[in-house]
Amino acid sequence: MLEGKKITKRFGGLTALSDVDFEVRRSEIVGLIGPNGSGKTTLFNVISGIYAPDGGDLFFENQKITNLLPYKRARMGIGRTFQIVRPLTGLNLIENVATGVLYGRQKKIGSREARERALEILSFTGLSDRARKLPSELILEDRKRLEIARALALHPEILLLDEVFAGLNPTEISSAIELTFRIREKYGTTIFMIEHVMKAIMNTCSRIIVLNFGIKLTEGSPDEVANNPEVISAYLGAAYAKC
């Protein structure tokens, strides 16, 4: 459903992405991994339209979206979260999510119904008892859940999760993994996620794409990727790849 062909993005002299091909199929959970600075978030920014690529084309449901504005892509069904959480400050959780519902892809509804829908989504993501708090009053785990809740308000076809597991403790990671599966089950959303936490990626993804220095290194099942010498070399250095 989402396909990138030869995506290239340069920042001045630095090539952040070079000829990256990828594809995400409906109902998949696909992981995107790579060492720091390998271009993962840049790829997400290109997909959601925050950056325009310098080369290559993007297709969503077989339609070319390379030159569409971000809000149009969101309207087509591409939702995302941000690595560094970016809630709408000054608005409580209901208002944060209700704003998303009001502009979301489901049929037009009034403010009251939007708030009800927002509460449903908040309880789905486990935030219903904090619904009237401000984002600044939440702990990190809950802020990450809020990012997901706000993205779900759009009712996306595909959800781009940018490191929602980072900084969480093992218990929190387990419940976040569980949430990831529940999203796909309840909303039928396809998931494309950037992740460093190996436990999360190994347990959730059916396929993993590996980036290194802006180049696609390999892709395959979690096991294949974990045992690929090139991947080990990229993460730990060439010496470890041999043993």
């Binding site: 959601s48 339209g49 925050i50 504005l69 971000p70 809000y71 969101a74 309207r75 939702g79 995302r80 941000f82 970016r86 709408l88 400050t89 000054g90 608005l91 409580n92 208002e95 209700a98 704003t99 998303g100 009001l102 502009y103 979301g104 892809r105 403010s111 401000l134 706000r150 993205a151 308000a153 759009l154």
Partner: protein, 313 residues
């Protein structure tokens, strides 16, 4: 309880204000309330773009002035009878809105302080243009024919018209605050990039808010031109008006319905009080000190300060 009383109290207040001229007050009070209404309109409509969307426009007096000059020009060119002149304020508001559309399209692509600087420059450019173009009145200004009726009657008519415009502006502001449109603007203020990823068409909403926020000051400017009878660029394009509008809205609390109203009322009253009871130099010092105190202790405006005190967030 409070929620039910609130609209009722507002309605009673509105009726009382509308009926105020019936008790035959002195012209001074009518004029005083007239200027309060005018500033409430200016601050509340500035709030659409500056408060909700967070795009601080420092050139809003330009729209006020455009409305005033457009009205005066229409009145003199078409030799309109006085009553029609007042109606000319409405298309004048439309002209202000049209200018906002043209100016807003490039300007609203610029964010933060840069937007403020550009709008400030825009106000200067309009001022200079009007001053130097003979067709628009030039440096001499424009005269409008007065109605051939006693001063008190004409003041009463102006009072009621400005009051009506204020009610309409505040109604628009009220609905905006509770609408999908308002929610979208608030999201833009908070984080424009995130708003885009929530499928909010940010460019479109900003321009709509900017146009709307120019229309009401335009109409108010038209009424003001008629009220003065003679307009000159210094009277309507004054940079102090632009700054005052921003201060009033921020002082009361930007992005809320009540904030700009409170800010406009308090600052107009304080201004008037100081100019009556204090020397000009001392008045300025007191005025400045007031702002420093409010900025330090109530950075988000008076409304926010009292809400926090009540434990409501």
């Amino acid at each position: 309880m409070i929620n039910k009383l609130y609209p009722a109290a507002m309605a009673i207040l509105a009726v009382l204000l509308a009926a105020f001229p019936c008790i035959g007050p002195e012209v001074y009070y009518l004029s005083f309330l007239f200027s309060i209404f005018m500033y409430v309109i200016l601050a509340s409509s500035w709030n659409f773009i500056g408060g909700y969307a967070g795009y601080i426009s420092f050139g809003h007096a330009a729209f006020f002035g455009i409305g005033a000059f457009a009205t005066a020009k229409m009145a003199t060119m078409l030799e309109l009878p006085p009553l029609l002149t007042m109606l000319a304020a409405i298309p004048a508001g439309g002209i202000a809105a049209l200018v906002a559309l043209i100016v807003g399209y490039p300007c609203l692509k610029i964010r933060g302080p840069y937007f403020s600087v550009v709008t400030l420059c825009f106000a200067f450019v309009v001022d200079l243009a009007v001053k130097n173009i003979e067709f628009l009145g030039g440096a001499e200004g424009l005269w409008i024919k007065f109605m051939d009726i006693p001063e008190k009657t004409s003041r009463t008519i102006m009072y009621e018209l400005m009051f009506l415009l204020m009610v309409i502006t505040l109604a628009a502001s009220w609905f905006l605050g509770r609408s999908r449109f308002g929610a979208g603007l608030t999201a833009i203020r908070s984080d424009e990039e995130v708003a885009e990823t929530m499928a909010i068409p940010t460019a479109k909403l900003k321009i709509q808010a900017f146009v709307l926020s120019a229309f009401f000051p335009g109409v108010a400017g038209g009424l003001f031109a008629y009220y003065l009878g003679y307009i000159h660029t210094d009277a309507v394009f004054n940079i102090n008006i632009s700054i005052l509008i921003v201060l009033m809205a921020m002082f009361g609390g930007g992005g809320t319905w009540l904030g700009p109203i409170i800010g406009a009322v308090i600052l107009t009253v304080v201004n008037e009080g100081l100019s009556t009871f204090a020397q000009a130099e001392i008045a300025r010092i007191i005025y400045g000190a007031l702002f420093i105190v409010v900025t330090i202790f109530m950075p988000n405006g008076i409304i926010d300060f009292f809400r926090k005190k009540d434990g409501m967030t």
